[in-house]
Amino acid sequence: MDADAPFLRFWAAFRENRIALVALAVIVAIALLAVLAPLIAPQDPYDLGRLVLSDARRPPGHVGSGGYVHWLGTDAQGRDLFSAILYGLRISVLIGVAAGIVAFVIGATMGATAAFAGGRSEMLIMRFVDLQLSLPAILLALVLAAVLGQGRLQMIAALVAAQYAYFARTAHGAAATERAKDYVEAALSTPLPARTVLFRHILPNCLPPLIVVATVQVANAIALEATLSFLGVGLPVTEPSLGMLIANGFQYLLSGRYWISIYPGVALIILIVAINLVGDQVRDQLNPRLKR
């Protein structure tokens, strides 16, 4: 049997949902924009020498002193908003994906280990996870971000701490089901170390629900980071993510200069909506209860 067959079958079903396909294309495009930002952006928004104050707070379509059109307007420092958004996307995507991956690894390992080990350690780990799940993620992230201080790594740590529990719960549920199956008994009866059975045999079979959680959690991580940065407890001023761009524009919103806050928000929403649409389709495809 071809090893790629499950993936190809999955892709064939995925392709049938046009909306999900478009969303996937949007994600790829945004990822490219974020990676290639220095090449695409008309201006390096954080090269302070290039900023001209007379360009500040200009509406969309204004032709600035740089000789090019500011399609999305400029902010209070005279930055081209389009460029600032591209650079902001870089930071938002990087933080969101990094936090998602770390939370995935820690959470999946914890949950699967708990299910595999059983007994008292399982109870202890899962009680702790449940306790944490009953507290809202934003609260944990808020407090941690406040205690740890500002910075990229601190931000990722706060997001991971707020999110790994979702992976742990899901992995635990899936692994507990797998643990009872015959192939695990068979693998355990061989001289393979328990660790190998857990990571090579059980975990791969727990992947489908974990992937669904992962898409949702990356979107959540991006939104959470933006929220914390908006509240002023997220990234430092030197790391202007989308949330901070929106926060900077807030004070100008009341005087009708909407674009400074609104456009970075639109970019953020397009990204998150696209991820959630793809996640939705993946969930529908992986949910055995909806098969008719």
Partner: protein, 322 residues
């Protein structure tokens, strides 16, 4: 039932001690405890007095026990910024937040469940697809940005509703409430809508997912075969079955709405707990942070307890087990 209550009460105490330990570790041990207790502009003499008084020269475990002891007596210290006992401060801000949160969660549930049930009952209709598309939007758009758009549209452009504050309040039972005056309601509307959109999307999706699965089950097939009307089936068979996950999520979301009120209150200058915690984080008013966290933990325990009671009322299987 009494045994159950006692068991839950003991569990709650264990959870509170664990949370107190985490809060203690997070705010006191990782942060510099001297910053926590003394305002930065205090004199050297005050510093030394306070260090001795709070036993900061003692080993950590002794400090923790002392912290627990003060906690048990309801002594959470004084706020540097407001110079009043933090417990009083936090409690005085609680009603505003509860009012906002309740309005948001109740609105989201009353509107979201029927819409979601419809979308699950007719999953392929245009309206259902539109509702689901909107719910993804409500799910994805960050609360703070919706708040900005609401202010931009309804306060700045149209000028219909105020952009911030609580408006005129009426004092009932010694507590000020906004929802009892027209002006207060006007002030409440935008923040409540802002806070509820995410929950509305969630309730809709949850109700839809539950309904979709349940209308395919034998329960519904038999009910149809017995000649009951579709309306009766939805009300008497589907709604009770989907209500269990909805009650869980309602409870959990009530808590998370309480936390998300931080964002909405900041944007709409709503003078509740959330605004207080953000201000105290920014001004390093750590006793307020500790008090806030402990209060939220207590609220969560109460909420979880109420969910368990609701479960027992809704699910005959759980009721039978006790």
């Amino acid at each position: 039932m009494l045994g159950f209550l006692i068991q839950r009460f003991l569990q709650a105490i264990v959870v509170l001690v664990v949370i107190a330990a985490l809060v203690f570790l997070g705010v006191f041990a990782i942060g510099n405890p001297i910053d926590v207790l003394i305002s930065p502009d205090a004199t050297q003499q005050i510093r030394l007095d306070t260090i001795a008084r709070y036993g900061l020269d003692q080993p950590l475990w002794q400090q923790y026990l002392a912290f627990l002891g003060r906690l048990a007596q309801g002594d959470l210290g004084r706020s540097f910024v407001f110079n009043m006992p933090v417990l009083d401060l936090v409690l005085s801000r609680l009603p505003a937040t509860l009012e906002l949160t309740l309005a948001a969660v109740a609105g989201a549930t009353l509107l979201g469940v029927p819409l979601g049930m419809f979308a699950g009952y007719r999953p392929h209709s245009k309206v259902a697809k539109l509702l689901m598309g909107l719910s993804i939007l409500g799910f994805s758009v960050p609360t703070f940005w919706i708040g900005l758009v609401l202010i931009l549209v309804f306060a700045v452009s149209l000028g219909w509703l105020p952009a911030g504050g609580r408006g005129e309040t009426v004092t009932v039972l010694g507590v000020e409430w906004s929802f009892l005056t027209l002006d207060g309601l006007k002030h409440l509307l935008l923040p409540a809508v802002n806070l509820s959109l995410f929950k509305l999307a969630m309730m809709m999706r949850l109700a839809r997912a539950g309904t979709r699965e349940i209308v395919l089950t034998d329960t519904v097939k038999f009910a149809r075969a017995s000649g009951q009307s579709e309306w009766t089936i939805l009300r008497h068979h589907v709604l009770p079955l989907i209500s269990i996950p909805i009650v869980t999520v309602f409870g959990l979301e009530f808590g998370s709405t309480l936390a998300f009120a931080v964002v909405t209150e900041t944007i709409f200058s709503w003078p509740g707990l959330g605004k207080l915690i953000i201000e105290s984080i920014q001004s390093l008013d750590r006793p307020v942070m500790v008090a806030y966290l402990m209060l939220v933990a207590c609220l969560f325990i109460v909420i979880n307890f109420l969910i368990d009671l609701a479960y027992a009322a809704l699910d005959p299987r759980i009721r039978a087990r006790r």
